[in-house]
Amino acid sequence: MELTATTTVRKPVTEVFAFWRDLQNLPTFMGHLEEVRTTGDRTSHWVADAPFGQNVEWDAEIVEEVQAERIAWRSTGDADVPNAGVVRFVPAPDGESTEVHVGLVYDIPGGAIGKAVARYFGEEPHQQLDDDLRRFKQVLETGEVVRSDGAPWGKRARKEFPQRPAQPLSDAELEKGPDA
C-alpha cells in the first residue's frame, strides 16, 4: 500500500527538516506511532500501536539524507509490516514557508496480520496521513496539537465520531492526558 500526502508549513525549510530528522518527534503528530527511539546515527527503533491490541515494533534505518531537502528510511530485519518512507522539503513560493511531501509504503502481508492492518487503515487510509500532517503543521506553527472539548485526544479525533459532546472534560477525563 502506498500513501502520499502534503502540507505547507509556515516555517523555514531548515527548521521543518530538522524537526522531522529528529525522528523521536514523529509520535507527537503521527497517529499510529507510540514511540521512535534513536539507536544510532542512522538507525532507530519504532513502536506502533497495533490494531489487535499489542504493539508492533521494528527497527529502521535512514537510507538517504540530503540536508534541508530529503529524508528516506526503511524498516530493517524481519518487520511484521515491512515499510519505507520518504519526505521531501521544498521552499514554498511565498519565500517563507516549506512544502512537505510525504510518501509511505507498507508491504502488507497476507494472513491475519494483513487483514488486521487493512482494517486499521480503514476505507480511506490516506486520511490518517493527512491528519498526521495537519498535526505536524500545528506543532511547528503553534507549538502543540490543538485540543477541543469534542476532540480532546488529538491523535484520535477522526476515529471517534460521534465525539464526546463539546462540553468541558470531567476531572477523570482530564487526567488521561492529551493522548488518552
Partner: protein, 391 residues
Amino acid sequence: MRANTWAGRNKVEVRDVPDPKILNSRDAIVRITSTAICGSDLHLVDGYVPTMQDGDVLGHEFMGEVVEVGSGVAADRLRVGDRVVVPFPIACGACAACAAGLYSCCENTNPNAGISEKMFGHPTAGIFGYSHLTGGFAGGQAQYARVPFADVGPLKIESDLTDEQVLFLSDILPTGYMGADMCDIQPTDVVAVWGAGPVGQFAMDSARVLGAAKVIAIDKEPYRLQMAEQAGHTPVNFEEVDVRSRLLELTGGRGPDKCIDAVGLEATHGSAHISAYDRVKQAVRSETDRPHALRQAIMSCRSGGVVSVIGVYGGLIDKFPAGAWMNRSLTLRTGQCHVHRYMKPLLDRIERGELDPTRIITHTLPLDEAERGFEMFKNKEDNCEKVVLKP
C-alpha cells in the same frame, strides 16, 4: 457550572456541566459576565448545521474576566483579572491564513479539520459552540469558557465602557462591518441590506459610517424595519411590496450599487410558492440552504456592483442565478467574519461615539432562561431583536 446546551433539534437546555480547564498551554479560562444569542445559533438549533451533538455547549458571543491563564500565555499579552471580549473564530495567529488576516480560515485551530475539508474543500477555523464541524469547542452561553490561543484573540477592554457597549465586538458588530467593508463603499453608493436582524442592523450602520449615500433595510418584521428606520435607514417590507420594483424605484431604476445578504440559509420568501419549493428540497436534503435573499440580491444589484454575503450558508443551494452574476459583471464577496481584524478599530469607533451597539438590545435575561430567550428570538416574540444573557 451552568451552561446552555444543544439538546436535539429545536431544543436547548441549561444544564450542569464540568467547569472548563486548561487543555493547551496558550488557553485562558474566562468567567463570563455577558453573552448573547445569535442568528447563527438558530441555524444550529433548527438543525441546519450537521455534526451537532446532544450536550454541546452553545454560544460564540461572550466576554468576561480572565480567571486563569496557561503557561504559554505571556503576561504582557493577558493576565488574570483582565476584562476581555472574545472573538468567535479561534485563530492561531501563526499560519498563512492568519498572516493574511483571514482569521476565520485559520489552518490550525480545528481539530476536526478533516471533516470540514470534506464538506468545504479546505478546512476552516475552530469556532466556539458551533458544531463539531468547526472543532467541537464548548461555547460561551455558560458561566465559564476555555479560550484557546488566548494570546491571539481576546481584546482587552481597559476603559469603563459597559458590557453592553462592547459585547458585540465578539461577532455581530465586526460581521456587519465586514459586510459593508467588502462592498468597497463610495460616497455615491446606495446600499441595500437584506435582513434587519442584529447582523443586518450593524451592516446598515457600518455602511453609513463608511459613507454610503443611502442605506435600505429589507425584512418582513415591522418592528425590525422600524428599528432600522429609527437609525436613519430606508425600510422595505418584502411581504408588502415587490422588492425588486421597490429597489428600482428607490434608485432611479439603477438598482442598489452594493447589496448585503444578512439573512443566510433560513430565508423566507414573499411568494409562498417559491418558499415551498425550497423548503421541500431542504427537507429532503437535495438542497441544504434556502437562498431567497441571495438570489434576490444578485438579481437586484446594479451591473458591476458588489454582492456581499455575511448570512451563513452551510451546504448546497439550488437555482443560483449564475447568468445574472456573470453577464452583469457582479462581484460576490463573503466569509465568516475575520473578527480579529476589526475588533480594535471598531472599539475605537464605539469610544468615539460613531457606532452605538446597544441600540439593538431588546432583552436581557439570566442564563438560566436561555431557552425562553431562544424562543423569543426565533419566533420574533415581544419585538425581540437581540437577547443578552447574564450567567
